[in-house]
């Protein structure tokens, strides 16, 4: 199998693994963050627990938070795409 078709199969498999819980009936649930569930488990085990330090700044709404997460992903993907693109164009020049 060529590298390209192997990559496509690997990406398809990764996408299927992530999509499965959303698509297969019976699986899934609320899809809350595991970090939040961990926090809840602490609150359950220690009723009346109060964190002793608060975040210095909190995104004012879920939308702003989602936007900042998207920004983080965009910065990473942008750099990664630039580097991979540079690599590919160099190789093409060398092949000529």
């Amino acid at each position: 199998m060529s590298t390209r078709s192997r990559n496509i199969w690997l990406l398809a498999a990764a996408a299927a693994i992530i999509a499965a819980p959303l698509l297969i009936p019976g699986l899934g649930g609320e899809f809350k963050g595991s970090d939040d569930r961990g926090t809840e488990a602490i609150a359950e085990a220690r009723p009346g627990f109060e964190p002793w330090f608060k975040p210095l700044w909190k995104p004012p709404s879920d939308e702003v938070e989602a936007g900042l997460f998207a920004l983080q992903a965009a910065i990473g993907a942008g750099f990664l795409g630039y580097i991979l693109g540079r690599r590919a164009s160099k190789k093409n020049v060398a092949d000529r």
């Binding site: 819980p21 649930g29 899809f31 970090d35 961990g38 330090f53 990664l80």
Partner: protein, 222 residues
């Protein structure tokens, strides 16, 4: 894997800072040396950081009905060794603590230990072990990245179990509880991360399957 701000007792928070600090310091020295001595590796180092930056921002659904995110630290640990990921992971966790209120400053030491130290070291150990046993690059990359991701979440579960042992069943009972929340949710995501890491490693090297590709990426060979 983020322990939220203020959720670790002061003693634990300080202890994890003390445990993480030497790894980050050694990583910084190593990273400086790589940047100085191997300029051709600079872009690959940036790529490893960028990969972790993207993946740790993506919250994905899992079969347990929770969402969680991969870590993306295996790629850099395989190419450059685990130390540099301590530095890159700390930068990511700081970004998330300050801008996203995800994780925290008081829990930074603990979160750095799980995502930027335990995960990358597990990845590196599995990579070396499998390559030593004669596994192909793709197989070794897959297991190194997937199990490193899982190791991070198992570490988080252990950290919380240490801080909040169950009143009756103690550390073990609490470990099972937090392990169920973090590590089990993570299994499918870890597999997906392993597959993705193989693809990105292929794309970075462009020479899949060649034994020397990783040393070329790290700038140790040309």
């Amino acid at each position: 894997m983020h322990i939220m701000e203020g959720f670790l007792p002061v003693g634990h928070a300080v202890g994890w800072f003390a445990a993480s600090a030497p790894f980050v310091a050694v990583g910084a020295v190593r990273m400086k040396r790589i940047l100085q001595e191997r300029p051709e590796a600079r872009l690959n180092l940036a790529a490893a950081g960028a990969f972790a930056f993207v993946l740790s921002a993506l919250k994905m659904p899992s079969v347990t009905g929770s969402c969680s995110h991969p870590t993306g630290t295996g790629l850099g640990a395989i190419i450059f060794g685990p130390s540099v990921m301590a530095v890159l992971g700390t930068i990511i966790l700081l970004f998330q603590a300050l801008l996203l209120a995800h994780g925290g400053l008081t829990t930074l030491g603990a979160n750095v230990f799980s995502m930027a130290i335990a995960g990358p070291w597990a990845s590196y150990a599995i990579w070396k072990l499998l390559r030593g046993a004669g596994a192909s690059i793709a197989i070794a990359v897959f297991f190194a990245a997937a199990l490193g991701d899982l190791a991070t979440y198992a570490t988080t579960a252990a950290q919380l179990a240490l801080a909040y042992p169950d009143a009756e069943s103690g550390f073990a009972g609490s470990l099972i509880k937090f392990g169920g929340i973090f590590a089990v949710t993570q299994i499918p995501l870890a597999i997906a991360e392993g597959l993705l890491t193989v693809v990105v490693m292929n794309a970075l090297s462009g020479r899949a399957g060649q034994a020397d590709e990783i040393t070329v990426l790290s700038g140790e060979a040309r």
